[in-house]
């Protein structure tokens, strides 16, 4: 049954996942093309100096990509469930409801996690060819809040999508935007290090938010 649920989620999200992987890959390739262009035009030494003195972000195109990836995946996964209240049918599958929810959310979470880990790993490994570990580490800290925002945006969009009542959905959007904005406070690379444990705890906790919406859905809130 678990495999069947995962397959159902895959059917719903495969196009969105494919699009996301394509956009991530394109942004990654373009970022390295831009780095290569800078290296050719001004030299590696100059690039290193700029990276050190100006805290230059190597991957500016990735600022909002994980955020939109999380939103897109959650919408494609849960919007169909809300159409004609198909979620009711899903919840009636021969498995405990909590297991069904966990499987659906777990699928989405793992998909976003895999995507951001692969993207982060590829970008940093590529960067290591050009730069010393300190600059790679600075880039890791630069990317981390944006990639955590991808996981949080998936969880928050799921919470919003599964909410049955429009008024409450809008309130969830407002609260969700306030919480997500914490991942985008303009700061130097590494500035997020003190708050990262809190943001990670929030990302973990936010995966349970959907239970609240599903409970309201089951209770027939309109």
């Amino acid at each position: 049954m678990y495999q069947a649920i995962i397959y159902k989620e895959w059917i719903k999200t495969r196009k969105a996942l494919g699009l996301t992987v394509f956009v991530f890959a394109a942004a990654g390739v373009y970022s390295f093309m831009k780095i290569g262009e800078s290296v050719r035009s001004s030299g590696l030494v100059s690039m290193w100096e700029t990276a050190l003195q100006k805290d230059m972000s190597m991957f500016p195109y990735f600022e909002y990509l994980p955020l939109f990836a999380g939103i897109l995946l959650a919408i494609t996964q849960y919007a169909p469930e809300l159409q004609f209240k198909r979620l009711k049918l899903t919840l009636h599958l021969p498995l405990p409801e909590s297991k069904i929810q966990q499987t659906m959310l777990g699928y989405g979470f793992m998909a976003v996690l895999l995507l951001v880990c692969l993207a982060m790993g590829s970008l940093l490994c590529g960067l290591r060819l050009y730069f010393p570990r300190e600059i790679v580490s600075a880039s890791f800290w630069n990317l981390l809040p944006w990639f955590l925002a991808g996981l949080a945006s998936y969880a928050i969009t799921s919470w919003v999508c599964l909410e049955p009542q429009w008024k409450q959905r809008i309130l969830n959007i407002v609260a969700g935007l306030a919480l997500l904005s914490l991942f985008f406070i303009g700061a130097k690379s590494g500035a997020y290090s003190p708050i990262t444990p809190y943001l990670t705890a929030f990302v973990e906790a936010s995966f349970f938010f959907s239970i609240y919406s599903i409970t309201r859905f089951k209770e027939g809130i309109q």
């Binding site: 590696l44 030494v45 690039m47 500035a191 349970f208 239970i211 409970t215 027939g220």
Partner: protein, 416 residues
């Protein structure tokens, strides 16, 4: 649904946190005005602080005793600041007191220094650029490598992205020979190539000894400064002054300020005769000239301003300007007994900071608690009490979050 109440509390807490930050942030955006202090400079003629207000008042020029000046009187009272204009106008005095004024000397003795705590409280990459301190050409040239100085010193060649073992060994040996004990606690210097000259870096070793490290003719120059301060050095800020009198400003852990003088190959800390300040919170600005330094130390409560004699750095006069009233602080002290922010002005780091304002803001919490009793429709008494207590504790943010996250009770929960 199992755990539904836990999930409710979880969401309520996070939404409350968002409210404790977001609501005050909105009010701050609508009401905050940056504290505007007058420009203050110590007059070498009047021997008083002269101030120029920037709030649009009719008579903006006055001294610290309240005497009003015209613009012309103000300009001519600060000849060491306005020497270019006064020279053009033919109004520059030939001497002040008994000191004969030499335009070149006025120029090289003029300097400005600013320190903000965010310079110290900032993430560091741990990589530095070692320029040649005795360059063959007039301007500095990029060396083609960078170095790290923590557990050891290592130079990394930019072209190959590998450690330059030979150069690293050369500097490592020089550091060890000079008595440097690894790991380094901190290293500060000016990474910019756009500076008049290079003096390398100052690094504090594991035993709290301050070392000067630079490269001269491609060779390491490492000196134990052997300076003794009133407390352990906390921060060094390099400043390339035109007369090369000193290397920069040094602050110790007790907030004392020094310049590190270059004294014939030796290092001599000269303490600024000002009160210790909080290097993690307060800002300092120094405007120096041939005769006097004007030092401003800005804290939350206001600005302490000192006039120091340039040679001895002994204090001649001081004054205090109280921080102007800020509408945001007024609002906060009535609306939010406690609020949260993530980006403080004294640090580059993003971290949760809880601020406590004033006890009379508890009135807002009390009003929120009363509203919470009646604002949620026909709910059980237990819920009313919870709403009220929650709003009393978390104030406006608590009340708002209760609106954002309704109880399950309202939707007739039947447990599975």
């Amino acid at each position: 649904m199992k755990g539904k109440q836990i999930v409710f509390v979880l969401i309520l807490i996070f939404v409350t946190v968002a409210g404790l930050w977001g609501i005050p942030e909105l009010v701050k955006t609508a009401t905050y005005t940056k504290a505007r202090y007058p420009f203050v400079y110590f007059s070498s003629i009047q021997k008083k602080f002269l101030m120029r207000e920037s709030d649009g008042r009719k008579e903006p020029y006055h001294d610290d005793e309240g005497k009003i000046y015209s613009e012309k009187e103000y300009d001519s009272s600060l000849p060491l600041l306005n020497y270019r204009q006064l020279t053009v106008n033919g109004e520059m005095p030939e001497k002040i007191d008994s000191l004969v004024l030499d335009p070149r000397e006025i120029r090289v003795k003029q300097m400005t220094f600013r320190y903000s705590p965010s310079e110290k409280n900032t993430p560091e990459t741990g990589l530095y650029i070692m320029y040649e301190s005795l360059p063959k050409k007039a301007k500095l040239e990029s060396p083609g490598d960078v170095f790290r100085l923590k557990e050891s010193i290592e130079f990394i060649d930019a072209e190959s992205n590998t450690v330059n073992a030979e150069k690293s060994e050369l500097f490592q040996s020089a550091l060890l020979k000079a008595g440097f004990v690894f790991p380094a606690q901190w290293t500060y210097g000016n990474l910019s190539i756009r500076k008049p000259y290079d003096e390398g870096y100052f690094s504090l070793d594991a035993e709290g000894k301050l070392f000067h490290v630079k490269m001269v003719n491609g060779r390491p120059y490492v000196r134990n400064t052997q300076i003794a301060l009133l407390a352990e050095p906390a921060f060094f800020s390099m400043l390339e002054v035109a007369d090369k009198r000193f290397y920069g400003f040094l602050f110790d852990k007790k907030g004392n300020s020094y310049i590190l003088e270059a004294d014939d190959g030796k290092y001599k800390p000269v303490q600024l005769d000002i009160a210790p300040f909080d290097i993690d919170r307060d800002e300092i600005m120094i405007m120096g000239n041939l005769m006097y330094w004007t030092v401003s130390v800005q804290s939350d409560s206001g600005k302490n301003i000192y006039a120091l004699e340039t040679e001895s750095l002994k204090q001649l006069r001081s004054t205090f300007l109280e921080a102007p009233a800020n509408r945001w602080h007024n609002f906060a002290s009535w609306l939010f007994p406690v609020y949260l922010d993530f980006k403080a002005t004294n640090t580059e780091y993003i971290a949760p900071n809880l601020h406590f304002t004033h006890f009379h803001a508890l009135t807002a919490n009390l009003i929120s608690a009363i509203i919470a009793i009646f604002a949620f429709g026909n709910v059980k008494m237990g819920r009313r009490i919870f709403n009220s207590i929650y709003s009393l504790v978390f104030g406006i943010a608590g009340l708002a979050s209760l609106f954002f996250v309704p109880f399950f009770e309202k939707i007739r929960i039947k447990d599975n």
